[in-house]
Symmetry: C2
Subunit: 272 residues, 2 copies
């Protein structure tokens, strides 16, 4: 079986218009490629919720700062296509940069509320880029729903806020984070962990889980450093919408050149 690939908006919309004419619903799974089991769980959820699933792959330059890892962000379209075929994806949308940022492009979106603090304190350019590219993917594709992973908890809240504020006619759904056997959240950046770092990395989940289970967060940073992390950007307990409260534990820490993030809901029964 081959996977249809759309590389421009016209092709994307023509394919989806055909499905719409047949009365079919559409789910979008936005990704930056380098797909792993976490992405495939989003796709599986999409197949449950909609008649057709589109996966997008676009490594969005506007959400990386000049000092960040855009150039070395993993890219493997052939591997991704094979995984998407096996997972029953209906269409890959893999736009070139000119389909997202054509000549003359000059509009920015500034998200507020959940886009402030936590990740944004360390990656101030990121959520503007996320808000922009997600808005464009949604208006280009016109899905009934889009599916995101809970690991990027703050990102989901930002996208939900922007979708509500701009009245974009789709629902945002989430899927629980898929983890390695030792608890490490699946991430495209995990491949950059060497053996020593890979052995240290699960401590992030362990420490966040401990707080989610009731331990005081006061020693979290020290525990991560003792476990071998080089630095801790933040560990925070928040409500699910990121306002003050105790519903989800979020953290980000650095291991050499790799920055890991994770999020652990206090009670699995309350997942948003």
């Amino acid at each position: 079986m081959t996977l249809p690939i759309a590389r421009d908006v016209a092709t994307l919309r023509a394919t989806i218009a055909g499905w719409r004419d047949a009365g079919q619903s559409v789910a979008l799974v936005p990704t930056m490629g380098a797909l792993h089991a976490g992405h495939l769980a989003l796709l599986a959820r999409g197949r449950e919720l909609a008649d057709r699933v589109v996966t997008s792959i676009f490594v969005n330059p506007t959400q990386f700062a000049p000092t960040e890892d855009l150039a070395r962000y993993p890219r493997d379209e052939a591997g991704d296509v094979a995984a998407l075929v096996a997972a029953g994806c209906d269409l890959l949308y893999a736009p070139g940069p000119e389909a997202i940022y054509p000549p003359g492009f000059c509009t920015a979106i500034l998200p507020g509320g959940p886009a402030l603090g936590l990740e944004a304190a360390f990656r101030p350019q990121m959520y503007g880029g996320v808000a922009l590219v997600c808005t464009k993917l949604f208006t280009q594709c016109g899905p009934d729903l889009a599916i995101f992973g809970e690991k990027d908890w703050q990102q989901v809240q930002v996208v939900r806020r922007v979708v509500a504020d701009l009245d974009l006619p789709l629902r945002i759904m989430t899927v629980a984070t898929v983890r390695e056997a030792d608890g490490l959240a699946m991430s495209s950046r995990n491949r950059f962990l060497d053996a020593r770092a890979r052995a240290i990395a699960p401590a992030l989940y362990r420490v966040l889980s401990g707080i989610a289970e009731g331990r005081a967060p006061v020693r979290a940073e020290a525990e991560l450093l003792e476990a071998g992390f080089d630095s801790v950007d933040y560990v925070a307990l928040r409500r699910r919408d990121l306002s003050p409260g105790g519903e989800v534990v979020l953290g980000a820490a650095r291991l050499g050149a790799v920055r890991l993030i994770d999020a652990v809901p206090v009670s699995a029964g309350e997942r948003g």
Copy 2:
């Protein structure tokens, strides 16, 4: 005949969904109310281009600076409704502030390119507000096309740019400015001109037209002051997309508390 009025997004979308089910196309005429013959020309064009015409009335607070005339901007919904019925409007969308800016709203749109300079040099908050409210009206209503007047030339270029950059699936159409017999562009703010100011006001069109017909713009400001304007914000010759060039003459000048703007294309045959 009565005019259906939607005051929230759900009612708006339900009405339009009924039209869509019947295969009908939809034009949107976004206004701030206080309707005059210029607005009705937009509506008439909408009736030519689409099966159904929605007119929106929303005096958007985010495009006014605190020092500007939001509080005294003319409001006359009863008069507007009568005019819309006579003109064959199918639906008035008159949202309350909470339908546009609900609690927790915190997203901004920052337009660039055509949103810089000219009006923006004197009303720096305006085009961010215009971009935001137009994006929301478009995503709330989902029209095939939206219609704007050429008087607000820069606004049209901003809206076109934002629609292109955010991939909003509609066309932006324009209608030539409707003028009084002496050339004054119809504007809701004209009602604030007293008899003396009303006699001076047509000089703006006269001076801009002179430049459009080939006169050098060097004396434009002096001519407007000599005609009785109190100050001139700008007179500028630009390409239609507002890049440097000579396709449209734009101007803004103040008469007491009233600020007038106008735009005159160099050749009527080239109107965009």
